[in-house]
Structure formats: C-alpha cells, structure tokens
Point group: C2
C-alpha cells in the first residue's frame, strides 16, 4: 500500500519557490470563499513521523488565515473526556460551517497505538475502524469535507532522520522516546496502518498517502490537494454530491403503508390508578430512584433518559417526578428548543453530544435527537435523504453511549386524539397553561396520522437491544408517571448488577 | 440579620391557591417577554436548608417554561474544572441573553463550607466574598439581572424538620449526613452566612432573605419577587439603570491629555540583528522553550500568552515561532475573529473564559480581551462606560488566572507609522499577503494617535505586578521574535521555581 510513497519524490527549491506565491494566494482565496459556504473542512493528518506532522501543521498555520482555522493535536484525555464516550472529545472540537480544523492524533491514533503494542486484538481494532468510518460518514453526509493525509516515510529514512537529529546539539529534543519505540515496531505499525487505511478508505472520505521524506514535495502536494478539493466542492455546491452519494450508500427505505396497525395500536390506554395508591407508590418509587441514582453515581454509571410523546402527553410532569427524586447536583434536564447559531452550524447531533453526562450523572432530554425523524420529517424541515439516514446515525450514536457504559432509557408517552383534545381544551381554561397551547399544536393535531407513521417507523427502526423504546400509555397521568419511574428504576437497577458479558462489552 | 426571617410567616392553603393561577400566568408572560430581551436572569438560591432549596427549584421548574430555563446545582468539581480558576465552572454555565439560570451550590457554597469547617481563615473568606462581588458586579453591569435568595430557617425548626423526616419510613433519604453535620455547626454557619450577605449585598445585586419554614409562603414570595424584578427590568429597558449605576460606581476616569509622551515613546525601535545571529539564537531559544513547556506541563503550570500590537506588527510570525517550539498537544492558538452568536449573547469575557487552558497547557491569544479597550473604544463599538469599566474587569480576570497559578504573559508589538506603511506597501506586492491589507487597515492608520492614546491607557491601567505588559520594539521582525521568545522563556522559567511567597499565594 505504501510502495507508491517510497519513490523518492522531490521538488527543487527553485520549483518550490516559483509555485508558492500563486498557490498561497489561491489557498487564501479558497479559504475566504469557504467562510460563507455552508460546510466545514476537516483535515486529518496521520502517520508515524511526528516531525513531518508538526511541519505540515506549521505550514498550514502559516499559509492559511488563522482566524478561520483551528489546530487540534490530541494528547492525553482529560478526566471529563475519559468520562464520556470515545468520540466526545472530537465532537466538542469539530469545526462549524465555513471553518477549517486540522486534527492530528485524533480518532485513528489511539487505536493504532493500541494495535501496535498489542493492547487490543484484531477484532477490536477492526471494530474501532468501523466506528471511525461511521463517524466520518455521518459528518461527510452532512456536508463536511473530510481530507485525510497519511504521511508516509520508510523505515530506513526514518532511522536516518532520527540519527541526524540526535547528533544535532539543539534539535535533539525533536525525537522522543515514544518515537523511537514506535520505530522499533515499524513493521507492526505498517501492518495496522495499512489495515486502518483499507477499512476507512471510502469514496466520500478517501485517504491520500503522501510521500513525506521531502518537505517541499510534502507541503506542496498537500496544499495543492487541499486547494483543489475545496475549490471543487465550492463549485459543485453543497447538496449535489451528497444526494448522489446517499442514493448509492443508503439502504432502500421502506415506506410504511397507510392505514395499517402501528406499534402504538397495541397499547392499552384504559388503565387508571387511584389517587391514594398513586401517592403511596410515588413516594416509594422516588425513594428507590434516589437511592439507585446515588449508587449509580458511585459506580460511575451514567444515565441518559429520553422523553418523546404527543403534545400534551405529560412529558413535563413525568420529568418533574424524576427530578424531585434525583439530586440536582448529579442530574440535568435539557429542554430542546430552537438551536443556537453555533448549534445550527454543526451536524444536528452536535448539540446533543454537548450534554452527554459525566460519569455517574443523569441527563434527561425533554425531546431529543428524535426530532429529526419526527417533526423534521413530517414538517419537511429535513430532506428525505436526511431523515432517512438519521435512523442509522441515531442507532450508531446510542450504541456509542451504551458501549461506553451509559444506560439509555427512552420513553414515548402515548395518548389518543380524544384525550389530547380534552387536555388542549382544559389548558385553554387554565390561565398559566394557556401558553402551552399554540396554533402549531392545533396544526400538528391535523397531521396525527403522518406523525403516527413517523412514530411507528421510529420505534421499529431505533428500538435496539441496547436502547429499546418504552411505550407508555399516558391517558392516565398517574399511571404514566408511575410507569416511567418504575421502568427507570428497573433498568437502572439491572444496569448496576451487570451480567458478565455486558460487563465485558462496556469495558471495550 | 436573620431576625426578620424568623417571624413564623405563613400563607394559608386557600390564599395560596387563590393567588397561584394569576401569578403563574404573569410569570410565564414575563418569561416570554424576556426571551426577546437582551439580558439574562441569574437566580441564586442559598441557605442551610437543602430540602427547601430543592423544593424551590422544583417549583420554579414547574412554574416556568423549561425551554428557557436551566438549573445548575454544583456538586463535586470535575478534573477539568479543578484545573481552571475557581469561577471557570460558573462562566461555562452562565445563561445567554433571554434565558434564566437557577444556580444553587454555586459561588457562595464552597467558601461557606470552608469557612464553617475552618478550612479557610477570615481573611481568605473575605477575599472570596470580594471576588464574588466583583463577579456579580461584572455580570450585572453588563446587563444580567441577578436575583439572590437566601432561604433562612431557624435552628430549632431545622432540627424539628429533620426529626420528622427521619421518622418517615420512606422520606428518610432526604436528610444526609452532611446536612446533619451542618446543623451541628449552625451558629458557625450563621456567622459566615451573615458575613457573606453583608459583603455581597450591593444595590445592583441585593440579597433577599426569605423565611423558608412555610413552603407556600416561601414559594409565593420568591415567585412574586422574581416576577416584579423581571417586569420592572423589562419596563425600564436595559441601558438606563446601568448607566446611572456606573457613574456612581466607577472611579473617575482620567482622560489622557493629547500630544503628550506615551509609554510607547520610550521604546528604541532602531535595534536590529543579523540573519546569522538570529537563526542561531532562534534554534536555541525554541529548544529552551520546548523543554520549559514540558517541564511546565509536568508541574501543571498553565500559561496564557496574549498578543496585541499594531496592524502588520508581526504578531502572526512571532506566534508561529512559539508554536514551532511547543508541542501542539499541549498548546492552542486562539485567533480572535468576530464572535459567534452564542458568544455575542454573553458577557464579552465569556468567549475568553471558554479557552482558559487545562493544567499544564499553553493558550496563545492572537488579539484578546484587550480589544474592548482598543478597537472597541476607538471605533465606538463599546460605550464609554463599557470600555472604562473594562480595565477593572480585565485586571480582575487576570488576577483570577494568576491566583490559580496560571502564568500570564502579555506582549504589545510596537512599530512606528513609517514601518507600518512600508509593510502595507510590501504586502500589496506579495499575492498571498495582499488579503492581509484591507481598507480597514488604511482607515485604522488614520486613527494612529487615537489608538496610541488607547494603548497608553491600556498599558498604564492593566500592567499589574501579576501580569505586566511586555512592550516589544518590532520594527525589526528578527529582533521582535527573539525578544518574545526570550521574555516568554524567562518568565516561564521564573514561574517554575517560585519564591516562597508566590507559592503561597498561588495555592489560595
């Protein structure tokens, strides 16, 4: 795989200096055009040779306008990063639209090092690469231009360079112990590098293997590729290539036939519960939840609770019964309203990644990422190919949470149209509830069957063994609240005494 | 101080339920009006009684629209939080304009607990309170409506309540060991509570002491005060009260007389350095900086480097000489461009707090918070009273960094108008540098003397013993770069072997 990058390509100083002024000017012009485009550029720099990587970063820093550029060289994880799923630290540094981020030591490096030094087996390594592909695919499908440069240098050249540097009285510091250890395992490194490239080299996120020996060749090649990629993308426009790709890349989407029983039809909405029983049970369940939540805190088991449901289904009331029981110091409610500008200029999952709880904490989402396949689908805010691929993106997202050991509990609060009408009317008569009823709510009611189809698809496509949906009959508020508390307690309790196999997978 | 909050005030269930619907409706209306106003609301809930605090939070959660509300109950610090100055965790959770944040266990609690249990002496406690006042004042002067409620309950009532709760078979969990320990130290707690209130009770950020015994009285009183405060503020408009306050609150501002020598006039701009000497020195200094930066990393000594200077003074080039030497994994360059919408909807310091480095890391700001007293002052983007109070805000901000043990190194790169003109013309002839010259740069040149006065004021007012300005003659780029590296190395080295007194103050 690297043979073509060991040909000894060079560019003379003369040619280099002739090409440079025009190239740098063009690069800046492209970057300037990018600032008003609606996609970000992510540049990944990988390879065994840290000196070359550093020089490439310095060069990009010099050639590009730093106001639109961030450089992220990932080193040791902070505790907050270690407490979240593996990709959280990358999500928090992703560039917004119009900006360029250069990333090194990012999502590939950790797995490569683990592979080379035998800390993970081949199966785990392959799973990491699969996960990386899904991440890159998710970002690229959303518009991000991902440019991946693998800087290659042969073993003999790397050895030669180290020797030369080490002899230099003041440049010795450029060679670390870790670099030398890696050089000793060069053949292992090469094996895993090839495997990484092979498993993540897709048409939408291709690798460029760059012969890194000659600095002038290396820098000119990368700059030219960067320039032509950005220019081409600016010309072709943001939607065209993605539309084309989605059709080839996404599985065919099964439209739910009309007038057919949905998963919601199986729910018995008639169950009610007396006020006395309710209050007795409520205190008991809240007490239990309080104890379990502290136990989870000490075991560093985080919990993500998702609430979706019809308008007026009682999400707010159910959530308050949870927050009354769980200490506010270890819990957080995220009410999903209109996204901020920063949120809008990222992938739609970015704003949810932001709030992933620290170890042992509970985050409750009042509405969630499922908006993509519910309101955005029905109201046409998301294009077909956008919400259709969202099921896979969401499943992947939740799988990452679960693999990290986070418990994901999802509730759909279900009422029927009659009960909703009753509650709407009731709300109109209570002064402080009137604001909860808007024209939009009445309009949504008219689209009941469209929403029903969307809910049905959502439940079918995103109820996974690791994060199943809990459908809650909610015509009786009392019944629904107890049901939510009970389910949450049960699932939390079960997650605190994990069977052997679950333990294993959550550590990987 | 608390006598007026032990009068046994009560509200009957009947009166409560009569008042409630109208109050809740009005509250929601006020919150709705707030969403398009240009100030945030910060609600601080303090007091010994955790049960009351929890109930107040639950009630606000129920009465307000949760989409515009966040609740932050601060518990144990995360490592990332512990690695930054004490207020960093609060800055990261401050509400943006139009939103309400309820904070409990926030900036007061830690100091109170430390005071009560003798972990800090009275002097330190008072210093903490002074710092809190400055924080609240900074936010309030910028428009934030800060509402502080101290929930008071007498010792006998608290004892009674605990006994009752502990007898209850399922509500026992509401009383923690920590609560009981605090009750035992009630008189100590009261002493520090009074002191805290006294030292932070200002006209712009006044305390409300709330008799907390009766839940109905407590909730109605807080809700009514909240409602009237927000309504009044919405009516009076955002600027009026702040303008009035600044005049009383800020020290008289000394205008620099025209045509007078400034601090910049003392600089000798004629020094140059040969290319050979430069390159020899550069490598040596970069090597030294590399070693020092790793040493600082291992000692967890963070560094904040600030670059300001005339257009074309060579900030970018000087910064690159630093980033070539410091490993990208432990450093970050923040180029200050136009703020994002999220940044705009916070205090102007918020965007800089965001990037405060983790322990042992280096953050380089390419332009900085000093924009407030430079470009914003000269161009009139900030009102007089805004940039005039900024000196104090900035000194306070940097003092917090230094107290936390962060080294702050500030550079002003100075060139004269002739040299600037030469560089502007040169840039116009180099294709990839032409973009660096805009009409704005030429306009700024015309305001040289206004900028000079602003720089002079800035240096005089913000050159402190803990964060002095380094004025760098930069007509010779080579000289300036070496000077920057040398200064940085010296100050970093000095901070790594601190004299006894500095060690002591950085630990407080």
């Amino acid at each position: 795989m690297f043979e073509a990058a060991e040909l000894g390509r060079k560019i003379s100083k003369e040619d280099y200096e002739k090409a440079l002024p025009r190239l740098r000017k063009k690069l800046l012009e492209a970057q300037f055009a990018l600032t008003s485009a609606d996609f970000p550029v992510i540049i990944i720099i990988e390879g065994v040779d840290n000196v070359s990587k550093g020089e490439v970063i310095n060069t990009l820093n010099e050639w590009l306008d730093t106001r639109g550029l961030s450089v992220h060289a990932f080193g040791a994880k902070s505790d907050e990063e270690a407490e979240r799923p593996r990709f959280w630290r990358y999500w928090r540094t992703l560039p917004s639209k119009g900006r360029i981020a250069v990333m090194t030591g990012a999502w590939y490096s950790g797995s490569l090092i683990q592979g080379v030094f035998g800390q993970i087996d081949d199966t785990s390594f392959d799973r990491h690469m699969k996960r990386i592909h899904l991440l890159e695919n998710t970002l690229a499908m959303n518009g991000a231009l991902i440019l991946k440069y693998w800087l290659h240098i042969s073993k003999s050249e790397q050895t030669k360079r180290f020797k030369k540097l080490e002899k230099h009285p003041v440049q010795r510091w450029q060679v670390s112990k870790h670099d030398k250890k890696l050089l000793e395992s060069y053949s292992q490194y090469k094996k895993f590098a090839e495997r990484a490239i092979r498993l993540t080299d897709y048409a939408i996120t291709p690798w460029q293997i760059i012969e890194a020996e000659n600095a002038r060749y290396r820098h000119l090649t990368i700059a030219q590729h960067l320039l032509s990629s950005i220019s081409q993308r600016l010309k072709s426009g943001p939607v065209q290539p993605l539309k084309a790709l989605t059709q080839a890349d996404i599985e065919p989407f099964l439209e739910a036939p009309d007038n057919v029983l949905t998963v919601l039809d199986g729910l018995d909405l008639s169950t009610d519960i007396s006020k006395t029983t309710y209050q007795k049970e409520l205190v008991k369940l809240q007490q239990k939840l309080n104890q379990l939540s502290w136990k989870a805190y000490h075991q560093k088991r985080s919990v993500v609770v998702v609430f979706e449901g019809w308008d007026a289904a009682g999400k707010g009331g159910a959530i308050r019964r949870i927050t009354q029981a769980v200490d506010a110091r270890i819990s957080q409610v995220i009410s999903i309203a209109a996204p901020t500008d920063e949120e809008k200029s990222h992938h739609y999952l970015w704003r949810f990644w932001r709030h992933i709880p620290r170890a042992g904490h509970v985050t409750i989402y009042d509405r969630s990422w499922y908006g993509r396949v519910l309101v955005e689908r029905v109201e046409g805010f998301a294009k077909d190919f956008e919400w259709q691929r969202a099921y896979r993106e969401i499943n992947d997202f939740e799988e990452q949470l679960c693999e990290h050991g986070i418990l994901v509990v999802k509730f759909w609060l279900h009422i029927d149209p009659d009960e909703q009408l009753r509650r709407f009317k009731e709300r109109e008569h209570i002064p402080y509830k009137r604001h909860k009823i808007t024209d939009e709510d009445w309009r949504n009611r008219d689209k009941w069957s469209a929403y029903e189809a969307a809910v049905n698809d959502m439940v079918i496509r995103t109820s996974t063994d690791y994060a199943p949906w809990n459908l809650v009959p909610a015509n009786s508020k009392r019944y629904a609240r107890l049901c939510v508390l009970k389910t949450l307690c049960e699932q939390l309790e079960a997650s605190l005494t994990p069977p052997e196999d679950r333990k294993k997978s959550s550590n990987s």
